[in-house]
């Protein structure tokens, strides 16, 4: 009999039986635990706070009952889903978890304030980022469709001829209810005043010559681009707050990238060959 106890196979069987026993105990314990939902006071506090943030007032007793009821229902559904293993292979869930981790890391990366020298250096490296968008100045000659009807295109050509032979643009065309000259304005602003098609056209024209006719919601226009300011360079002092924001964002980005790299380096990564 003693001999049997020395047999490795017997050890193996006994150990196995022990494991099965412990596992079943664990399952019972888990079942009890898994079917108890504790709504802690701090959780109620947190939920109430979230509720009043969206509703604009503190919840009353009835509201709190409702909040708790909703919480319990959600918790039950989540546990049932876990029981069925629904979270396995759920792409949305994986992404959400990765996202949460990402947030956690970012929060750690709250950068300290930069010195003026650091900001200055950052600004010098990223000047283009702080320049304003392209702006153009233009004059235009308006032709009213009410006045010329079908003859409007030939009228436009005629005016272009006059311009070529040196006529003063200010004496040509029809009065326009908005301005005839616009100084250094961005495309969005032109779109707002004349419609988007007109704005797109204005921002592709060459400088210094009369072009068109270009249509707008109002009629036809002959246009001359006077100036093009592609990147209006801002001076450091006036954009310092924006530079600081951008510097912070940059610091945080770098911190996060570093942190993720560190985490990755704690793993052994095996990559299989794609073409076998």
């Amino acid at each position: 009999m003693k001999r049997y106890f020395r047999e490795p196979i017997v050890h193996f069987v006994i150990l196995g039986a022990l494991l099965v026993f412990i596992h079943s105990l664990w399952n019972v314990w888990q079942g009890v635990q898994g079917r108890t939902i504790t709504v802690s006071a701090s959780e109620i506090e947190r939920l109430s706070q979230a509720w009043s943030n969206t509703s604009g007032r503190a919840p009353n007793d009835k509201d709190i009952d409702y909040i708790i009821d909703q919480y319990v229902k959600e918790e039950v559904l989540v546990r049932e889903a876990q029981r069925l293993g629904l979270e396995e292979g759920d792409v949305i869930m994986r992404r959400r978890l990765a996202q949460k981790m990402d947030f956690l890391i970012s929060a750690e990366g709250e950068a300290e304030d930069a010195s003026d020298r650091e900001l200055r250096a950052f600004y010098d490296e990223n000047k283009a980022q702080f320049a304003s968008s392209e702006r153009r100045s233009f004059n235009h000659i308006y032709l009213s469709p009410e006045k010329y009807g079908d003859g409007i295109e030939s009228q436009a050509q005629q005016i272009l001829e006059q311009l070529k032979s040196g006529a003063d643009w200010k004496g040509l065309g029809d009065p326009f209810i908005q301005k005839r000259s616009y100084a250094v304005i961005p495309q969005a602003e032109v779109g707002r005043l004349f419609g988007p098609d007109f704005a797109t056209a204005i921002f592709t024209l060459n400088q210094g010559q009369w072009s068109g006719p270009i249509g707008s919601a109002f009629g036809l226009h002959l246009v001359r681009i006077e100036t093009v300011d592609d990147a209006l360079q801002a001076d450091f002092e006036s954009v310092k707050p924006q530079v600081r924001d951008a510097w912070r964002a940059q610091q945080q980005l770098e911190f996060k990238a570093q942190k993720v790299d560190d985490l990755v380096s704690g793993y052994t990564i095996l990559i299989e060959d794609i073409d076998k």
């Binding site: 007032r57 009410e146 029809d174 009065p175 707008s216």
Partner: protein, 631 residues
């Protein structure tokens, strides 16, 4: 000519405006932080001077939680949330200027009542207000409403410090978003006086005497509200004092249509005869009037203007919170303009010599200008199509046998997607826009961005219409909208010019509305002065039908009629040099679907047969006044 020059010079002096206008003069004086150059010929700017947020007692009960900050963000094109649970955003371009105008009486008191731990939240009225019992809520709400009307400071509820704090926040929000050259804001509030004219025994019905009080720049620690006095004449006294103290300010009356004849009546608040002193004081403080907004348009009424085929627009007659109709006389702008001339003939001064703007009066921090996408005014109360009576209730598909809730039937379904305040100003700054309001060079629209110009002089001619420097010459030789012409032996002539909104329908016609006094009697007449599609006005001054149509299946509009701009030179064929007269322009677009039709199409039901299916969006210029030289 000499007289005109003199009067023009006086107008220029009074208005402090620059009369040396030309394209080239706009070279210097760029604004800090902006590349916008001041334009001596002036630009049209569109804004809204009537917006409520959570700080208004009624808005908070309509479940509005958005703040003055949100209101300014909305005006700049950002998305904010509506209390009924959807997002709202401007359909067109951002606004050029805006003012938050919360009710000054009990300003910010409801949010404070609803904040646990505050002293005011422990009050019984506060507890009822935020209970779950609808009867208690309504009762508490009417106590506050009544106190605002009667000017009562309820002990344990009214707290001057709350008002001062929230007013300070209002001013700070305005200052924060004010960007000269880009976006102008004003510190402002609503003075909410209502005169109980009827229903004293049980219930209440009264005349709306509401005004928006707008500061040019600096503002005092506390607003003057109905808790100080319910008589608007006392408000003007306070405003005069404010001006002396360096806080320039003006007030803008609104919803005269539901004033029960009180807004433009022919006697003072206390029933005394109108005097020159009264007229001067009123005019000094109230140079402009809000002619259109969500709760209806106050231009005129079909019974006052039986010969105006377009007088039925935006008619809304129910006194606030009541099912009683407002008295017509004394409630409309056109009648007041005419009466003002008669009063001037008698007393030497015209109390109703005002310019015209529109605004929304939205209570959800964002104006609902667009017919296609209307969210009305009072938050959760009219935030859905069913609640405002444009779609039958309970998911019904037809209007057969449907009896609407009285509030939806009489109030909400009659309201409109309106309107804009527009100004002609040199640049987009507080200074320039406020000055435009003071000299009345302003116009109103029903939510469309029609631009309209209007000039009068004695020596304009037809050729000026084609002159590229028309505007600067028009300023030099006459007066713009809001101005005065002093009579000569010649008839005045007018330049009228309007351009469409690229996002709305093309223009159908330009009209001049004339009011005048003859033998002490007031008169009015509408002249069509320019017609689209090559039409000419007939002997009765009416354009031919331009055939514009709307497809009620999908709200598309005919593409082959209407004009992008209309422009004309006009002489008054009935002018008499010894008659006082006032002229304003009305611009009409081709018809489009009314908001209620859009609501119905989206829900897949027939439009409510009791409502107009289409409307004609429009703009009104401020008037120009002609006074005989011996007047």
């Amino acid at each position: 000519m000499k007289k005109l020059m003199m009067s023009a010079a006086i107008v220029a002096l009074l208005a402090g405006c620059n009369q040396t206008a030309s394209d080239d003069s706009a070279e210097s004086g760029a604004l800090a932080g902006s590349n916008e150059q001041p334009n001596a010929d002036r630009n049209a700017y569109f804004g809204d001077l009537h917006i409520h947020t959570r700080n208004s007692f009624d808005a908070y009960i309509f479940n509005v939680r958005t703040t003055p900050d949100d209101a300014y963000k909305f005006a700049k094109g950002e998305t904010i949330s509506h209390p009924s649970g959807y997002d709202i955003k401007l359909e067109g371009p951002k606004l050029d200027f805006m003012a938050v105008t919360d009710h000054a009486a009990y300003l910010g008191h409801l949010p404070a009542m609803d904040t646990p731990g505050t002293e005011i939240s422990k009050n019984e009225i506060a507890k009822d207000m935020f209970s779950t019992d609808p009867d208690k809520i309504i009762q508490a709400f009417s106590i506050i409403g009544g106190a605002i009307r009667n000017g009562k400071k309820i002990a344990g509820v009214f707290d001057e410090n709350i008002t001062a704090d929230v007013w300070k926040q209002t001013i700070e929000a305005a200052d924060k978003y004010n960007k000269p050259g880009e976006f102008t804001t004003f510190s402002a509030y609503e003075y909410t006086a209502t005169r109980v004219t009827r229903g004293q025994g049980g219930g209440f019905a009264g005349g709306n005497l509401h005004r928006n009080v707008v500061f040019k720049g600096s503002a005092p620690r506390l607003p003057f509200s109905t808790l100080d006095s319910t008589n608007p004449e006392d408000l003007w006294t306070w405003m005069d004092e404010q001006r002396d103290a360096g806080n320039d300010v003006l007030s803008i009356p609104h919803n005269s249509n539901v004033s029960d004849g009180e807004m433009f009546k022919l006697e003072t608040y206390d029933g005394a005869p109108l005097t020159k002193a009264y007229a001067d004081k009123r005019l000094r403080n109230e140079p402009i009037v809000e002619i259109t907004q969500v709760k209806g348009t106050s231009e005129t009424h079909p019974t006052l203007s039986p010969n105006d085929e377009w007088a039925d627009f935006g008619i809304y007659e129910y006194l606030l919170s009541s099912q009683i109709k407002s008295k017509v006389n004394g409630s409309y702008v056109r009648e007041a303009l005419a009466n003002g001339l008669a009063i001037e003939e008698e007393t030497g001064s015209n109390p109703y010599k005002f310019g015209l703007i529109g605004s929304t009066d939205s209570h959800v921090a964002g104006g609902s200008f667009d017919e296609k996408n209307f969210w009305s005014k009072v938050g959760i109360v009219d935030g859905t199509a069913e609640r405002r009576g444009s779609v039958p209730p309970d998911g019904k598909k037809s209007w057969e046998g449907v009896i609407l809730d009285a509030n939806a039937d009489n109030w909400f379904s009659r309201w409109g997607a309106s309107g804009f305040a527009a100004v002609w100003a040199e640049e987009n700054t507080r200074e320039s826009i406020f000055d435009a309001m003071r000299r009345k060079e302003v116009f109103a629209t029903t939510g469309t961005r029609i631009k309209v110009r209007f000039f009068a002089g004695f020596d304009y001619d037809n050729a000026l219409l084609d002159d590229p420097e028309m505007v600067s010459k028009a300023y030099k030789g006459g007066v713009p909208m809001g101005g005065d012409l002093i009579g000569e032996s010649k008839a005045p002539n007018f330049l009228v010019w309007a351009m469409r909104d690229p996002l709305s329908a093309p223009l159908q016609r330009l009209q001049i509305v004339k009011v005048w006094v003859e033998g002490g009697k007031t008169n009015e007449k509408v002249f069509d002065v320019a017609c689209s599609d090559n039409g000419t006005p007939d002997a009765n001054y009416r354009c031919p039908d331009n055939g514009a149509s709307v497809n009620l299946k999908d709200c598309s509009i005919s593409s082959d009629s209407g004009a992008p701009e209309l422009k004309t030179y006009w002489r008054d064929p009935e002018h008499k040099s010894d008659q006082r007269a006032s002229y304003y322009v009305r611009v009409l677009e081709n018809p489009v679907c009314r908001w209620s039709t859009w609501d119905a199409i989206r829900a897949g039901v027939q439009p409510n047969p009791k409502l107009q299916a289409t409307i004609q969006e429009r703009a009104w210029s401020s008037p120009i006044w002609y006074t005989p030289s011996n007047g």
